[in-house]
Amino acid sequence: MNRRNFLSLGLGALAVSMAPSTLSAINFRDTKPKAWTATKVDEAINEIFGSSKLSEGKIKLKAPDIAENGAVIPVTVSTKLNAKTVAIFQDANPETAVAVFTVPENGIIDYSVRIKMAKTGTVTVVADVDGKLVSASKLVKVTIGGCGG
C-alpha cells in the first residue's frame, strides 16, 4: 500500500468515526500512528493536520528562553481563536510530536504541559482554525550543565 492510499484511508476512517457525533473522543495515537514516528516537524504536522502550510496568527506560545533542565520545560499554549486541534512539536528529540490536544466544546485553549528536550531546539505549536493552520514557535536553549549559561 502506498502512502497516498494510506492517507486517504485514514481520512475516510476519521470521517466515518466523526460522523455520528463530533464530541466523540479522538485518540491520535490510534488514528494517526505515523505522526508519532515522524522525525521532522514538517512531516509530523503533515500527518496530523493533512497539510504543513503554516501561517502566523494569534496564538501564544510561552516557553523559557533558557531551560536549565531539559527534562522539565514548561510550555504553555493559549489562543482565543476557535481552534479544533492544537499540537506541540519540537525538533530536539529523535521524534518530533509531543502532544496533540483535541479542543472540546466548552474548552478554553490555555494548555500547560511540561516537556522533555534532549538538546537546544525549537518548540512549535500548531492550531487548526477552520482548516487553516496557525502556528508559533520559539527557540529554547537547553543547558544541561545546570549553570544557566
Binding site: N27, A71, A99, F101, T102, P104, N106, Y111, V113, K116
Partner: protein, 101 residues
C-alpha cells in the same frame, strides 16, 4: 501500582481551572535503553465532567516525568466531579477524580 493523579479544580467566574499531576515514569525509548527498563509512557489523557469531555490529549514520550497539566473549561458547576483517565503504552489505565471547588 502508581499513585493516583493529583487533581485540583477551581471554579472562578464560570471558568474551571484544573491543575493535575499524574504519577508516571514516562520513559522514552532513549531513556529506557539507558536505564535498561521497559519503555512506557502515557499516550492518552482524557478528562470528563458529567460525562462530557473537557480535555483531551494524545501524548508522546516527550512529556516530562510525572506529567503536569493545566487547562481550563467552561460549563461546570461547583461540586461537579471531574474524572481524569490516562492510558499508557502497556494499556494500563488509571482513573482519578476530584470535586470542583
Amino acid at each position: 501500582m502508581a499513585k493516583k493523579t493529583r487533581i485540583k479544580a477551581k471554579l472562578k467566574k464560570g471558568i474551571v481551572t484544573v491543575k493535575a499531576l499524574a504519577s508516571h515514569a514516562m520513559l522514552s525509548y532513549q531513556e529506557a535503553e539507558r536505564a535498561k527498563k521497559e519503555v512506557n509512557f502515557i499516550t492518552y489523557i482524557v478528562a470528563k465532567v458529567n460525562g462530557k469531555i473537557v480535555y483531551e490529549l494524545s501524548s508522546s514520550q516527550f512529556l516530562s516525568k510525572n506529567p503536569y497539566m493545566k487547562f481550563q473549561f467552561r460549563g461546570a458547576e461547583k461540586g461537579d466531579k471531574i474524572e481524569l483517565t490516562w492510558t499508557d503504552l502497556k494499556g494500563v489505565t488509571q482513573v482519578s477524580s476530584a470535586k470542583i471547588k
